[in-house]
Each structure stands twice: as structure tokens, then as C-alpha cells.
């Protein structure tokens, strides 16, 4: 009994869409952590910001999100550290228009209304895509909407375009034949990141590594069996398997520790957000990296 009482817990936050939920479902992690004297407590969050909100409040130890939420969390002083990333998946986000839209290129967006989640990875995509197309950000109208609301506005024609990520992107493409003006290719990287708190990463690095190893294992499996993964995923999140398959195929699965290049790319995102006034003060991604293993 005393041994049980002393058993330690790692609290992992996951979102409905991503590798961690599969990891949870497959039960791969528990066996890896048992030898380290840890058990897992899973906590589900509707989106990245809420997950980091919990991380900030010390309610979870580990989690993953896209590239935008950690920038705000760090700007707010959250004690998070980047512990890993999935390779760039620029196709996993795009700017969509309805199928019969007259808009043909990003440059046509001038004067038009674009729906997007404020301060998300697609916000960065939009900024960069406009920059590339030579349209000033101030020359378009933005409508900040969550994916579900944006979909309604998009279908109703309240907005001309919609910057969105997978799996919503895939769903829109397949069910209403939305047409991408541009995806992230050649414009942005669209990484997925894994985080822990500074305290937890320092105190139990072996656990962090074990979780990352679990992520790698599940990633390899998804990559090898996209159909099976989609079939397994589909009932969990309620998105039809064919759509999921497309979305999963656009993801990359090869979790790695943060490299300087990735940190630099992320720093660019942070700087772009600073320029947009989304964060009040400059931040240094380098400050939120895991201490190199001694």
C-alpha cells in the first residue's frame, strides 16, 4: 500500500484531434511509465489555449498544441517549455473560398472578408500569405470566428474566405467542395509542439522522454496505417473516416526535440504576432526551451 500511495502521476492534457488522444486510446504509455513509478492522468481540452491555461495554472504537466497558443502563454509568463515538435505540415492549413467564388489568388483577397481564429496558426498563415502576395494586411477585413462559427458564416456567405486548419479544412473541402486559394506550402511551417512545465521537465525528464517516445511510437503507427488510424480515430471525434484520412495524411509524424531552426521559425511567428499587436511585449523562444541534457 505505501508503494501505491507514493506512486507519482503525470497529468497529460490532450485535444480531440492529435496524436495524444490516439496514444491514450491505444494505452501505449502506461506500460512505458510503470517502470518509472508513474501513472497517467488524462485530461481533455477543447483547444490549445484552454490546454495551456490549465498548464499555466499547474493543473497539467504535459500537453501539445499548434504553434500559436504557446506564444501567448509565454508572453503571459506561463512556465512552459517546448520539449518536442512534429515536422512541418504546411498542407495542414489553408485559405479556403467557396467553390463558385470568383477569387482565384491570394491577391484577390484585397478588400474581402476573411474568417479566422484570432491568434491561431492560420492568423500567421494569412499574414504571411498576404505578405507574399503583396497585399497589405490592412487592406482585407478579418472576421474572428471559431471553426464552428466560421463554417456557418462561410456557408452563409457572410465571409469571402476562411483560413482554417485540419481536420476542418479537409471536411470543408470534401463536403462543400471548398477550394483552397493557398495552403501553407512555401509560406509557413505549421509545426505541432509538445510542452511540459519547467518544473516538471526539470524534475522528471525521464518521464517527458518516455511520453515523447510513446508519441513517436504512435506516430509511426499512424504513418504506417493511415486507414486503420482514421478508422480508429473517426468514432472518437465524430468525423467521417475518409475525411480524416486526408487530414492525417497531411500531418507529419516524427517527434523530435526542438532544433535551433524550429526555434527560429517559431521566433518568427512570435515576432509577427508582436507586429500585429497580439502580444504586448517581445518574447524569446530560446527562453522556453528545455535545458540541454547534461
Amino acid at each position: 500500500a505505501p508503494a501505491l500511495a507514493q506512486e507519482k502521476v503525470v497529468r497529460i492534457g490532450y485535444q480531440k484531434y492529435g496524436t495524444l488522444i490516439l496514444l491514450k486510446n491505444k494505452g501505449l504509455l502506461e506500460s512505458r511509465l510503470k517502470p518509472l513509478g508513474y501513472s497517467v492522468k488524462w485530461a481533455e481540452f477543447p483547444a490549445g489555449p484552454q490546454l495551456l491555461e490549465a498548464l499555466n495554472a499547474g493543473a497539467i504537466d504535459f500537453g501539445n498544441t499548434g504553434e500559436a497558443p504557446p506564444i501567448f502563454a509565454q508572453a503571459a509568463g506561463a512556465p512552459l517549455v517546448y520539449v518536442g515538435f512534429e515536422p512541418a505540415a504546411p498542407q495542414g492549413e489553408a485559405i479556403l473560398v467557396p467553390k463558385d467564388s470568383p477569387l482565384k489568388t491570394v491577391a484577390d483577397l484585397k478588400g474581402k472578408t476573411v474568417a479566422l481564429n484570432k491568434g491561431s496558426n492560420v492568423h500567421y498563415l494569412l499574414v504571411k500569405a498576404l505578405e507574399k502576395a503583396g497585399v497589405a494586411y490592412a487592406d482585407i477585413k478579418t472576421a474572428f470566428l471559431t471553426p464552428a462559427d466560421a463554417r456557418a458564416a462561410f456557408e452563409r456567405g457572410s465571409v469571402d474566405a476562411w483560413a482554417i486548419w485540419d481536420p476542418f479544412q479537409a471536411a470543408a473541402e470534401q463536403t462543400i467542395a471548398a477550394r483552397p486559394l493557398a495552403d501553407g506550402t512555401g509560406i509557413v511551417s505549421n509545426y505541432q509542439f509538445y510542452f511540459s512545465t519547467r518544473a516538471f521537465a526539470d524534475q522528471a525528464p525521464q518521464v517527458v522522454d518516455a511520453v515523447l517516445a510513446g508519441v513517436a511510437e504512435i506516430g509511426a503507427w499512424v504513418k504506417g496505417n493511415p486507414k486503420a488510424a482514421a478508422a480508429e480515430f473517426s468514432p472518437l471525434i465524430g468525423i467521417p473516416a475518409p475525411i480524416l484520412e486526408v487530414a492525417l495524411a497531411r500531418q507529419q509524424y516524427d517527434v523530435k526535440p526542438i532544433t535551433p531552426e524550429v526555434a527560429a521559425a517559431q521566433q518568427q511567428v512570435a515576432d509577427a504576432f508582436l507586429a500585429l499587436g497580439l502580444i504586448p511585449k517581445p518574447i524569446r523562444i530560446a527562453d522556453a526551451l528545455r535545458a540541454p541534457k547534461s
Binding site: 485530461a43 481540452f45 483547444a47 484552454q50 491555461e53 493543473a59 464552428a148 481536420p167 476542418f168 465524430g238
Partner: protein, 297 residues
């Protein structure tokens, strides 16, 4: 308008006896009796006429293609989603988990709201000291204080129950306070003159006098109780009707969203019927609350 027609729509509490008498007369004639029974059935069904009418319109619009099924699925699709989630047990699990949270929150928050309403209602100094603060707290949006709630209660059940409790406390507080403040002062004087202790005064005069209003608060709180869950269950949930709905919304499963909304509506109706039953029992002395009663005019 003839006098008779007038008495139909305008007459006062007295008129039920007319109705009874008419029914009795009608009873002499079997055909009439049948018609009377039919009328009673009609009255029982009337409350459902509007919802069912909307449902029919909705199905018609969906069938005729006026509605994009991706935004508002046809009733048939929702029925399918209902059947699916019923079969795999998730619907019942979600409802029962949410019910547990809702009732716990109601017990705690309702108790606190009631106690504060009573305290501030019977004792002016308490009102002076507390009411302002409560009116401020009442206005704090749940969605905005979730980070704080997580800080205090973590991401477990406590946080969700706390939010429900806070949500239900205020309508009960306000209506209890109002009910107690407007208790007939003449009766309170009478009770004190007849030597009732403060406890007896409370149970025999103040509470019964405030009860109709308290029950209005309860009725409103029963709605809020469910509604708060949709916010509360965004905090690290995997079960619950609020979770089900918001999760489905997140992933554009409109059929499940509508199913969730319908579940909310029916739970609300259920809670409301319950309050009505309580009203009819507890306020048997008050003709305004009896089933036969008519509107005031």
C-alpha cells in the same frame, strides 16, 4: 362580444365552478361527454402543439432542401444520432453524468443562495453588508473566470460543480430575497404579537409567504443549472451533455449538436414540470396556483 363569451376569456377565479357545472350538465349526454373528454385531451396536448409544429416545419424545410443539412440537420438525422448515441450508451452516460453534476451544484448553490436570501431578507444589516457584493459577483461571467476556478479547484469535478453552484445561487438568492421582503407585514406583526419565536415565525409565516417567489427562483435556477454545464464541461471533460454538445460543435457534428440542444430543452421542460408539481402541492392554499385557475383577467 356577448356576455357569455366575455366570461369565457375574462372572468375571474370564480369561473371554474361554471366550467365544472357545464361539465356536469354535459355529463347527462353521452355525445357531449365524449366531446368534453376530447376537449380535455386537446388541452393536454395543446402545450406540445407549438414544438411539434416547429418540428414538422423543420422536417419539411429540410426535405424540400431549404436548409443545408450541414448547418441544421433534418429531424431524421437527429433521430438517427439519437438512436446511435442511445445504443452505444453515450447519451445516457452523458446525461447521467451531467445530472449528477447539476444536482450537486444545485444543492450547494441553491442552499447558499437560499440562505443568503433569507439572511438578507430578514436582517437589514446583512443586506447592507452583503447585497452589493452579491450583485457584483452575480455579474461575473463564468467563461472569464475559468482560469481562476481551475486555480482554486483544479480541473476535476469540483470546478464544474462550483460553476453550477455559482450559477444557480443567484436566481434563488434574488427571488428568495424579494419573496421575503414582500411577505405581508401584517401577518408578521400578528405572528410576533402572538409570541411566535423567530424560528416559528420563519417557518410558519415568512417562508410560506416567500415560497411562491422562491419557487420562481428555483424554476429559473433549474434552467441555469443545465446551462452552466455547457461552460463547466469545457474544463477537461470527457463526459456530460455539455461536453457532448460543445465537442460536437467543435467538430461540426451538427446532428449531435442539435440532439444536445433538444436534450437541454427537454431537461428544462422536465425540471419545469417538477417545479409546477411542487407549486401545486406547496401552494395548495393559493388559488392562483391551482390547475383550474385562470389568468387574472
Amino acid at each position: 362580444m356577448s356576455p357569455t363569451a366575455q366570461s369565457e376569456s375574462l372572468a375571474l377565479g370564480a369561473v371554474p365552478s361554471v366550467a365544472r357545472q357545464e361539465a356536469a350538465e354535459a355529463g347527462l349526454d353521452a355525445g357531449l361527454l365524449g366531446r368534453v373528454r376530447l376537449a380535455a385531451l386537446g388541452r393536454a396536448l395543446l402545450p406540445w402543439a407549438l414544438p411539434l409544429g416547429v418540428l414538422a416545419l423543420w422536417q419539411a424545410a429540410a426535405s424540400l432542401g431549404f436548409l443545408s443539412s450541414r448547418v441544421l440537420p433534418a429531424p431524421g438525422d437527429v433521430a438517427l444520432a439519437f438512436w446511435r448515441t442511445l445504443k452505444d450508451g453515450t447519451l445516457l452516460t452523458n446525461i447521467s453524468v451531467s445530472t449528477g453534476r447539476a444536482l450537486t451544484g444545485l444543492a450547494i448553490g441553491g442552499g447558499i443562495g437560499f440562505a443568503l436570501g433569507v439572511l438578507n431578507g430578514v436582517w437589514r444589516p446583512a443586506e447592507t453588508a452583503l447585497d452589493s457584493t452579491l450583485q457584483m459577483l452575480r455579474n461575473v461571467p463564468h467563461l472569464a473566470i475559468i482560469p481562476l476556478v481551475i486555480l482554486w479547484f483544479g480541473i476535476g469535478e469540483e470546478a464544474k460543480i462550483f460553476l453550477v453552484a455559482v450559477g444557480v445561487a443567484f436566481p434563488i438568492y434574488l427571488n428568495t430575497f424579494h419573496g421575503i421582503r414582500t411577505v405581508d407585514r401584517g401577518l408578521v406583526e400578528m405572528a410576533r404579537v402572538y409570541g411566535l419565536s423567530s424560528t416559528a415565525l420563519f417557518w410558519r409565516i415568512v417562508l410560506p409567504g416567500a415560497l411562491p417567489s422562491v419557487l420562481v427562483g428555483l424554476r429559473y435556477a433549474l434552467g441555469i443549472m443545465w446551462l452552466t454545464l455547457i461552460v463547466a464541461e469545457t474544463i477537461s471533460s470527457t463526459e456530460g451533455i455539455g461536453y457532448m454538445t460543445m465537442n460536437a460543435r467543435e467538430f461540426l457534428q451538427t446532428d449531435v449538436v442539435v440532439l444536445g440542444v433538444l436534450a437541454y430543452a427537454l431537461l428544462g421542460k422536465l425540471a419545469d414540470s417538477l417545479t409546477r408539481a411542487i407549486e401545486q402541492r406547496a401552494l395548495a392554499w393559493n388559488p392562483a396556483y391551482q390547475p383550474g385557475a385562470r389568468g387574472v383577467a
